[in-house]
């Protein structure tokens, strides 16, 4: 087995052993979304107007929270020292871990998003672009978040600091993600926005593993 598949398999296995994990990400997504009707009141038209935005923002926050510990556990128990010392290229290890993260959190988020959209009265035309936008956007979220997660290793309250670092970087994804939904709602094509999201993904895929690896190397120093 290659380094990539070994690390991927281990992380997936760990996630399965503690299956509560993906579940809790989904739960946070659901609960944070559901808080909004309580916050802004139950009027259907207001909720429908903000549905796409609220779903995207809460999905970002949920993904972010789960990113928090993507490297932290390995860092604290010494596994990271060993991973840096495998002799294999560190960006490959990073990519495997990010893949595992996306599979165990990004995918479940995408799967439940249509259900939550119902509770926020998202108009029917918005569902397909919402799911596709999430499909193209969440990998970028995982990749960019990994850089942040590696940078905050060893700080107290890494979670909140992480938000400060990466939420500004998520803004482009958020803008094009919601724009894809909005476009569909006013009867325009979502494809331009979706292709921009795909572009971001390629960009993140190219740079993030290297930046993350650099951050991890200085973390174990």
């Amino acid at each position: 087995m290659s380094v990539f598949s070994t690390v991927l398999a281990r992380d997936l296995r760990l996630a399965l052993r503690q299956s509560a994990d993906s579940l809790t990400v989904v739960a946070f997504f659901a609960i944070a979304t559901v808080l909004f009707p309580f916050g802004v009141g139950p009027e259907t038209n207001v909720l429908a107007r903000i549905a796409g935005g609220v779903l995207w923002v809460t999905a970002l926050l949920a993904a972010l929270l789960s990113l928090d510990r993507i490297f932290a556990v390995d860092f604290e128990d010494g596994t990271l020292d060993q991973l840096v010392l495998t002799g294999a290229p560190l960006p490959v290890v990073v990519l495997a871990k990010v893949c595992a993260h996306w599979l165990t959190t990004g995918v479940p988020l995408i799967l439940v998003s249509p259900i939550l959209a119902v509770t926020l009265h998202l108009p029917i035309a918005g569902y397909v672009p919402l799911v596709f936008a999430l499909l193209l956007g969440t990998p970028t979220v995982s990749l960019v978040g990994a850089v942040g997660a590696a940078l905050v290793l060893g700080t107290r309250r890494g979670g909140v600091l992480l938000s400060l670092l990466v939420l500004p970087l998520y803004i482009p994804v958020l803008i094009f993600g919601t724009a894809a939904v909005e476009a569909a709602l006013i009867g325009r094509a979502s494809t331009p926005m979706l292709s921009v999201l795909a572009g971001f993904m390629v960009l993140a895929l190219t740079f993030s593993p290297w930046a993350t690896a650099a951050a991890l190397r200085q973390a174990v120093e």
Partner: protein
């Protein structure tokens, strides 16, 4: 059990790794803005052992992490077979480092933990090798237990068992005797002897027993920088 590692299944022939000598010269290291040691030199021949001694805080852990390539030196150069080490990944590939932290996943079983490292290092995982490693540290009975159930010493033995799942010419061990009971200390000494017999080199930091016959000793206290060196630093 350990004997099987040499012959037996034939996993651990000397040819499994390219033995070599490990040396360093003029090494200096800074932690938290302060020089820990400077002007340090050492050599470990194939099959040799180097024991790091020194009071608490004298820099044994720092030196081991530097030898592993985890920490950067302020000055000096490490060499493998007298060639300067400039590719950290290649160097990492020929060493095993056991530090204060044990890199064990509590949710995986003892055997799964070992298997992960084996396939990471060797690209494959063979049950016979895993079983041999478990036997070497008397962990076979615990193989199916989740690692979170282990006691301090059992965890440390699991960390040590990693040494024997994938051969590598250089072992770097930071106080490997911590928390071990007597029979485990003997198992560790046997594993080190077998490794050296195959041409492997080992560097051990230890306050008490050194687990090695012969070998040279490096006292970290001898390399503490003087006060003046500091002031001229900037």
């Amino acid at each position: 059990m350990v004997r099987r590692m040499d012959g037996g299944t034939g996993e651990f022939q000397a040819g499994d790794f390219q033995a070599g000598s490990f040396s360093g010269a003029g090494l200096a290291c800074r932690r938290g803005g302060r020089m820990v040691f400077s002007g340090l030199a050492f050599t470990v021949a194939p099959g040799g052992a180097l024991v790091l001694r020194g009071a608490n805080g004298s820099g044994k852990t720092t030196l081991l992490r530097l030898m592993a390539g985890l920490t950067a030196a302020v000055a000096g150069q490490l060499a493998w077979d007298n060639r300067a080490i400039d590719d950290p990944d290649a160097h990492a590939g020929r060493l095993r480092f056991i530090g204060h932290l044990d890199a064990i996943k509590p949710a995986l079983t003892v055997a799964e933990n070992l298997r992960f490292w084996m396939s990471l290092w060797r690209g494959e995982s063979r049950d016979t090798v895993i079983t041999d490693a478990l036997d070497a540290f008397d962990l076979r009975r615990l193989a199916g237990f989740p690692a979170r159930l282990l006691s301090a010493g059992q965890r440390h033995r699991l960390a040590l068992a990693r040494l024997v799942v994938a051969p590598a010419p250089l072992w770097l061990l930071d106080e490997p005797g911590n928390a071990l009971d007597e029979s485990s200390l003997a198992a560790l000494a046997r594993a080190i002897a077998a490794h050296r017999a195959r041409g492997g080199a080992v560097v051990v930091a230890s306050h008490g027993a050194a687990f090695v016959d012969g070998g040279s000793t490096l006292n970290l206290g001898d390399f503490a920088p003087t006060d003046d060196a500091h002031w001229s630093e900037q």
